[in-house]
């Protein structure tokens, strides 16, 4: 018996010792690979592996990693919503669709040339920033409001606003509540972990309107609570309320009070300017395309356009004056034809809006082009 025990312990000892040596070896080879392949894409192959995260980070600082990571992975990891009709919703077959999801596709079309190379991860509101911070997702497009504290404390980098929204209130049509002044001592349903909750507390607090905030983690519970009249009022971004109202069996009305500015747009993590610019210009290309009047339908007819602005935008060759045909390179790290890919595969801003939000009877409002008196204005593509 005693001898057997000793043999066991001895074997264990040897295995442990071997394991330690093996760890040391693999660690040192990691280090070697790192120093040899300073900026190569090969290093990025390992980035998909979480164990290699820090190596990834080290490369990031020298050569701008996220763009290379996405290109090497061949798929864009996009944080989205799966419960909000019109913006991000999942169907019975597991396919995501919606306004925000289309912008994930826009970025994939620009970076990878394939609008379908997107993997949408559904996130609840409270998860989205930790997930972005961890580097699990490349971009967060989940009806997320741009605020100073999020830019600052959340290490988030907000980009071109894709939808200008505002916080509104919805009540049952027969409730007798006509404005938030009538809503004192009501119970108000709101999602936890949102700026909506902060605005609600701040604005109604300032106006001295007492209320009970009933906070839910997901609309899956909030919606039945509103339908069962557990709360008289539902507050959220006005566009979301319109989206939900379209799917409810009860008659509702949206109060005239809009208590906040809610600019919604894509978000990336701080610390990678190159990637932020890529995402930003991909999104802005949809707005520029609408301004040019280029749609997914008629993009073919622009192939021989005489307008040098349009030619440059679509990555078509321009005569340099000496009879040479040159293709303008803007140096973003994107293919020269990224805008053509976006428009032909996903469409321009107006098309995306029409496809996803018009069915909810949302009008363009402040989201019209600047040429139509809206706020959609982007810098020139040159």
């Amino acid at each position: 018996m005693i001898r057997r025990g000793n043999a066991l312990k001895r074997t264990a000892g040897v295995v442990m010792a071997l394991g330690l040596v093996a760890t040391a070896c693999s660690s040192s080879s990691d280090g070697d690979a790192d120093s040899n392949t300073g900026d190569s894409v090969a290093t990025e192959d390992t980035a998909a592996d979480t164990a290699a995260d820090t190596d990834d980070v080290e490369v990031t600082q020298s050569s701008g990693g996220r763009l290379a990571t996405v290109q090497a992975a061949g798929v864009l990891e996009c944080g989205g919503n799966d419960t909000l009709p019109g913006f991000g919703i999942i169907d019975a077959d597991g396919n995501f669709s919606g306004f925000d999801v289309d912008f994930c596709k826009v970025i994939a079309a620009a970076v990878l040339g394939d609008s379908e190379a997107v993997n949408v991860t559904p996130l609840v509101a409270a998860q989205r920033f930790p997930t972005l911070q961890s580097g699990e997702i490349d971009v967060l497009i989940r009806n997320t409001t741009w605020t100073a504290s999020r830019d600052g404390a959340e290490q988030a980098n907000f980009l071109q606003t894709t939808f200008f929204d505002g916080q509104g209130f919805m009540v049952r049509a027969d409730s007798g509540i006509a404005s938030i002044a009538d809503a004192s001592n009501t119970t108000i349903c709101v999602l936890t972990g949102t700026t909506t909750l902060l605005n609600l507390n701040a604005v109604l607090g300032d106006r001295g309107i007492p209320f009970t905030a009933l906070e839910f983690e997901s609309n899956d519970e909030l919606q039945p609570a509103f339908v069962a009249e557990q709360c008289e009022v539902w507050t959220s971004d006005a566009s979301q309320l319109a989206a939900f109202a379209a799917n409810l069996d009860v008659e509702t009305s949206i109060l005239p009070d809009i208590i906040s500015k809610e600019p919604l747009g894509p978000v990336v993590a701080d610390g990678d300017t190159e990637w932020a610019q890529v995402v930003n210009w991909a999104v802005m290309a949809t707005i520029q395309a609408e301004e040019f009047g280029i749609t997914s339908e008629n993009i073919g007819s622009f192939a021989d356009s005489e307008d040098s602005g349009i030619r440059r935008f679509l990555g078509l060759a321009i005569d340099d004056g000496d009879g040479n045909q040159v293709i303008a390179e803007v140096g973003l790290g994107l293919p020269t034809d990224f805008a053509s890919n976006i428009i032909s595969q996903v469409g321009n801003y107006g098309e995306i809006f029409e496809r996803n939000l018009a069915p909810l009877s949302l009008s363009r409002g402040p989201n019209a082009l600047w040429t139509d008196g809206g706020l959609m204005y982007v810098p020139p593509f040159r």
Binding site: M16, V57, F129, E215
Partner: protein
């Protein structure tokens, strides 16, 4: 990378030094002759294995920590706790917390809500579980089958589902606020947001009355002890519950009359959406607690049943031989012995209950997990908040186990 290699080298160095040291100790203590070399000496290898295992764990932890630090440094995430003094901006339903109060205040309210779920729910789960466990062993066919069905149903569905189920039932079974159900002549309020119950409100002399009640409690405890001692000495039936309760009620009622009615009973009512009088309980709290109690009771029932079956059959027969009726048999023979067996696994269930209470936020009851989830979304640093959350549950669990172990120890001493 270099730094981490250096640390590994240090670990290997410690490993080597210890290895050599043990070899030296071994060789100096004995004359070598037929001693095996150190790489085959189990005394050396046992220590070497432990040092190597420690080294492996340390380097794995070190690697993950370095990853974490690199990532947080990359995105500029601060890892201090200064944010706890910032205004939280959040609110908690039916809690007077000001939304401009510091985050630490919000966290304290969250812990308080968790505590409220635990302190009421665990005794309820214990009582319900014990009753069902006994019912499963009943000779009444219907009763035991109902108890079996109950256990099989609740034990085999996820606890989150039970909570959402009780919440959904409450949500749809009770009417909305504007047409609240007011049973017993409007002394209660039931709607799908809040439940209102009558309560007492202190009038003049209420402070004196509270002192009298406290004295009544002490007096009844003294009577209890006196009756117990009498019983031990002479065998006279003690009736200590009757005597104790009688003393308490007699003194309290006498005090109440003497002070001319020091308190009134108020009933809750809703005036213009505001609840006045009585005490109210928010529905999600009741739903969460009911869900957790139903679920935990199904597990407790099985523990109780198992431990009752573990009591030797001769004990039951001895009870029968003494002509004890079935209540007396349970009360004086079976349960005291079964409880001793049941207690350690019961503590486990109480810990599970505590941890499962974190699912409450799904239905809108803001206990500590809900509050912290909320703060995640309000630009507050997740690593620190998660650490706080883990510490809170750790403290709850450790305190519960400590109390449980204390009781367990006393049970063992009283017993054998």
């Amino acid at each position: 990378m270099l730094e981490r290699l250096l640390r590994l080298a240090i670990i290997l160095g410690i490993f080597a030094v210890l290895y050599i040291a043990f070899w030296k100790v071994r060789s100096s203590s004995r004359n070598d002759a037929d001693e095996p070399p150190p790489w085959r000496d189990s005394r050396v290898l046992v220590v070497a294995a432990q040092v190597a295992a420690l080294g492996l764990i340390w380097s794995a932890a070190d690697y993950l920590w370095a990853n974490f630090r690199a990532r947080t440094a990359d995105i500029g995430l601060e890892l201090d706790f200064g944010f706890l003094d910032q205004p939280s901006g959040i609110s908690i339903a039916d809690n007077p917390l000001n939304s401009n109060a510091a985050i630490r205040e919000a966290l304290i309210q969250g812990v308080k809500n968790t505590f409220l779920v635990i302190i009421i729910g665990i005794p309820l789960a214990l009582i319900l579980g014990t009753l069902i466990g006994i019912a499963r062993l009943s000779t009444n066919w219907l009763l035991s089958k109902i108890a079996t069905a109950y256990v099989e149903f609740f034990r085999n569905i996820p606890v989150l589902l039970v909570i959402v189920l009780t919440w959904t039932i409450f949500l749809n079974a009770f009417p909305p606020v504007r047409i609240s159900w007011l049973p017993f002549g409007e002394t209660f309020i039931f709607n799908n947001l809040r439940f209102g119950f009558p309560s007492i409100v202190g009038g003049t002399n209420f402070g004196t009355f509270q002192i009298i009640v406290a004295l009544a409690l002490i007096a009844s405890a003294a009577v209890w002890v006196w009756r117990s001692r009498l019983f031990d000495r002479s065998g006279t039936p003690h009736h200590r519950v009757l005597y104790g309760l009688g003393t308490f009620v007699a003194i309290s009622v006498a005090g109440f009359i003497a002070l001319g009615g020091p308190f009134d009973i108020t009933t809750p009512e809703i005036i213009d959406r505001v609840y006045v009088g009585g005490v109210t309980m928010i529905m999600p709290y009741a739903a969460v607690m009911l869900g957790l109690v139903l679920y935990t009771a199904s597990h407790i029932a099985e523990i109780v049943r198992g431990s009752i079956l573990s009591v030797a059959k001769g004990q039951v027969e001895a009870g029968n031989a003494l002509a004890l009726n079935s209540f007396q048999r349970y009360r004086f023979v079976i349960l005291p012995q079964a409880f001793r067996v049941a207690f350690p696994p019961l503590i486990n269930q109480f810990l599970n209950y505590t941890k499962n209470s974190s699912l409450a936020f799904a239905v809108g009851f803001a206990e500590i997990t809900g509050v912290i989830q909320n703060l995640f979304g309000q630009s507050r640093p997740a690593p620190q908040l998660l650490l706080i959350l883990m510490i809170v549950y750790l403290v709850f669990s450790l305190v519960l186990s400590a109390i449980g172990n204390l009781i367990n120890k006393r049970l063992q001493i009283v017993g054998r």
